[in-house]
């Protein structure tokens, strides 16, 4: 395998690494928004999840407990959000923003208790392994099949379990949302809670479920940073990616499978400027390939998608119809 194709494989691998938490976060927010609730607290929930996962990993050295801790930490945040917006019908935007402030502050406070200690090697070794990595001894130098397999191995198969978990969860959520009765109920609540209510669906239970699933997935997204990506805790470890997730969900139009590709595209744009100039020295001077431009593209693309679906008018679906509205049963 020559060095250019290896570099491209490593570029794709880097994109996958940085986009995995985006997939998880976007899946969570997709479910929440499909249930009609705009939760802008993703960043806060990711921080809570990350901090809890890190703390549990430090004390128990257990992968399973660390992941559970991360999910529960973020679910605590989403439960507060759910109670305020479903039961008390508080403004969803304001509550979500409050959850971000709250989650980032509390997450930093909890994370700091670990004093920056490294995640125990029992945990990092687990996440350091690639369960799908191929052993290419002997095949490597064969024509055609050797380079192709090496490329796939380097780009796609050498990742930790989080990456494949995210993709499996996306497929499960797709089946749940579009192929099951429960998923239909959830979408119905997001489109028209009154109609759903009239047909006998327990609206509040569905809303709580959607929001809590969203919290659990945001917790996994947060847990990715200390457990699998960085290996320790630092303040504001998520780097503001909870906000990217909110844009991403609109970009992929509330669809779990599209979330995989959308996240990968956003992730790739995040890191491509680091590797492109080495790969193609010629392009480095061009303004459209500058670091500044790459930082801008995800938002430009989201705006384009929004405008495009608006132009398509009534045929273009603009997201769950009841998104952001509180449901009052007696209101007509």
């Amino acid at each position: 395998m020559n060095s250019v194709s290896l570099s491209i494989a490593l570029l794709l691998a880097s994109g996958i690494r940085i986009s995995t938490p985006l997939i998880l976060g976007a899946l969570g927010e997709t479910v929440t928004e499909r249930a009609g609730h705009l939760n802008l607290g993703v960043e806060g929930m990711m921080m809570l999840g990350g901090a809890l996962a890190y703390t549990v990993a430090l004390h128990t050295e257990s992968v399973i407990l660390a992941l559970l801790g991360g999910m529960l930490g973020a679910m605590f945040g989403s439960l507060v959000y759910a109670f305020l917006t479903v039961a008390l019908r508080a403004n969803q935007t304001v509550t979500g923003l409050a959850l971000t402030t709250f989650g980032v502050g509390l997450g930093n406070t909890i994370g700091k208790l670990g004093n920056g200690a490294n995640v125990p090697s029992a945990v990092t070794q687990f996440f350091g392994k690639g369960p799908l990595t191929l052993n290419l001894d002997g095949i490597e130098n064969k024509p055609v099949i050797g380079p192709v397999l090496t490329f796939i191995n380097e780009a796609i198969l050498k990742h930790n379990i989080f990456v494949y978990l995210a993709i499996i969860l996306a497929i499960i959520l797709y089946i749940f949302l579009f192929k099951t009765r429960a998923g239909l109920h959830l979408r119905a609540v997001g489109e028209s809670p009154a109609a759903a209510d009239a047909s006998g669906i327990n609206v509040n239970r569905v809303k709580y479920t959607g929001i809590l699933i969203g919290g659990a997935l945001a917790g996994l997204a947060g847990a990715y940073y200390p457990l699998a990506h960085i290996g320790t805790w630092t303040d504001n470890i998520t780097g503001g990616r909870g906000w990217i997730v909110v844009a991403l969900v609109i970009f992929v139009r509330w669809h779990p499978i599209k979330a995989i590709f959308g996240s990968f595209l956003f992730g790739l744009l995040d890191i491509i400027g680091l590797r492109l100039p080495t790969l193609f020295p010629g392009v480095a001077g061009l303004a459209i390939f500058s670091e500044y431009a790459f930082n801008m593209y995800p938002y430009i693309m989201t705006i384009i998608v929004l405008i495009a679906s608006y132009i398509r008018g009534r045929k273009g679906w603009m997201g769950p119809a009841a998104l952001g509205h509180s449901y009052f049963r007696e209101e007509r």
């Binding site: 109670f83 008390l88 709250f102 504001n236 680091l274 500044y292």
Partner: protein
């Protein structure tokens, strides 16, 4: 309905408890702000009494009173890097002057790209907390601070890493490049692949200068080696910093240096079984298998000097730019992973660099990346030339992003 009321109560309690917990951070942050504010208020009361008793003595009473010092940080005081270095400097200065004489009013997470947030923070410190001296510890506060300095002629302003001054506004920085150069010597001896990586934050002269000094240090002992630079375009994003480091490692770099606010680069190097040079704070305990050394700041003596100067009425504009000689800058103790010859070379050169300062680091002949001479033999770059540095020296691979 009853259930809902109970639920609301529980939720409210939960949120209050949560804020109390986050408040713990707050109390670390602003050093019992409540008590200090209370103290400040009683102080004002005391002032008022003095004025009532003897108006003529009021000024002198205020002058001998406790000095309130306002501080702006761009991130948290425990960020493991830049702001923590400053916070430790202030804490040491207060310890040495005495907590009965100075009182700190610290504000974290003030974005230096947000002029309004900066202005609000400074005005609160001066008008409500009675601060007579303001330290702003990030580059972007500069213009706002300069503008405000005209509004409050009796308050002294100190700005870190900028170039503006006014009647009552001073700037200060240090020649960290001396320590960067020495750390480059360590990297030059340590590398086996002759490829060294440098994770840089934003493309501004401060970062470019540091990278150039490092490269000059590397090439002084290992002319074969090159330094590959990649800009993460952020001061503080652990995920992006990790990926920047990995991009350099994938290119075959075996020693990484960095100019970032978190230790993520060092972590990535350790995970790959490679070596790393830190910045701001020692990371010997964080990454024991990778850590070689780090250029460090020690702001305490400067802060003590300036606080004393305000209290004694001897404050002047100094545009201080100290280095190793003044104790402002140091190279962390070299770990056991550093080759013996590198230790010897650093030890031999340290006194000379401390004596000659950045003039030694940026002494001619210097060539830029494209081979153009930027400084002839026998001369050194002037302070202005260093402050405006916008090119890489020979030996650096990589480009400065342009917009």
């Amino acid at each position: 309905m009853k259930f809902r009321k109970i639920g609301a109560l529980v939720a409210a309690l939960g949120i209050v408890a949560g804020f109390a917990l986050t408040g713990c951070e707050g109390s670390v942050k602003s050093g019992d702000e409540d008590t200090t504010t209370a103290a400040a208020e009683t102080e004002i009361d005391a002032d008022a009494e003095t004025t009532a008793q003897d108006e003529a003595d009021a000024d002198t009473a205020a002058a001998t009173d406790k000095l309130n010092v306002g501080i702006l940080y761009i991130s948290t005081k425990t960020d493991g890097g830049w702001s923590q270095g400053h916070a430790e400097g202030f804490a040491k200065a207060v310890e040495s002057i005495g907590a009965d004489k100075v009182q700190l009013f610290e504000k974290e997470n003030v974005p230096d790209t947000d002029a309004q947030a900066t202005e609000n923070a400074v005005r609160t410190m001066i008008e409500e907390q009675n601060c007579g001296l303001i330290f702003a510890t990030s580059f972007g506060y500069m213009e706002t601070l300069e503008r405000l300095s005209h509004d409050y002629p009796d308050v002294k302003f100190e700005h870190c890493s900028g170039f503006m001054t006014s009647e009552n506004m001073d700037n200060y920085f240090g020649q960290i490049e001396q320590a960067r150069y020495l750390s480059g010597i360590v990297a030059g001896y340590k590398t086996e692949s002759n490829k060294i990586g440098y994770v840089a934050a934003q493309p501004i002269p401060e970062v470019i200068r540091g990278c150039n000094a490092f490269t000059l240090g590397v090439r002084s002992v290992n002319p074969e080696a090159t330094v590959s630079v990649k800009f993460s375009m952020t001061w503080f994003d652990p995920g992006k910093e990790t990926e920047t480091a990995k991009a350099l490692l994938d290119e075959g770099c075996d020693v990484l240096a960095m100019h970032q606010d978190t230790p993520s680069t060092l972590k990535a190097a350790e995970d790959a079984g490679k070596f790393a040079i830190g910045y701001d704070l020692s990371a010997a305990e964080v990454v024991p298998d990778a850590y070689l050394t780090a250029p460090l700041w020690d702001w305490s003596s400067y802060y003590e000097h300036k606080m004393n100067a305000v209290m004694n009425g001897t404050w002047t504009i100094e545009e201080s730019w100290g280095g190793m000689k003044e104790g402002l800058v140091a190279l962390d103790e070299l770990t056991d992973l550093v080759p013996e010859e590198a230790k010897a070379a650093v030890e031999e050169l340290e006194p000379q660099i401390a004596e000659e300062g950045n003039a030694f680091v940026f002494a001619g002949p210097l060539k830029d990346q494209d081979g153009n001479e930027v400084c002839p033999a026998g001369k050194s770059l002037s302070r202005e030339e260093q402050m405006e540095m916008n090119y890489f020296v020979e030996g650096v691979l990589g480009q400065i992003p342009s917009n």
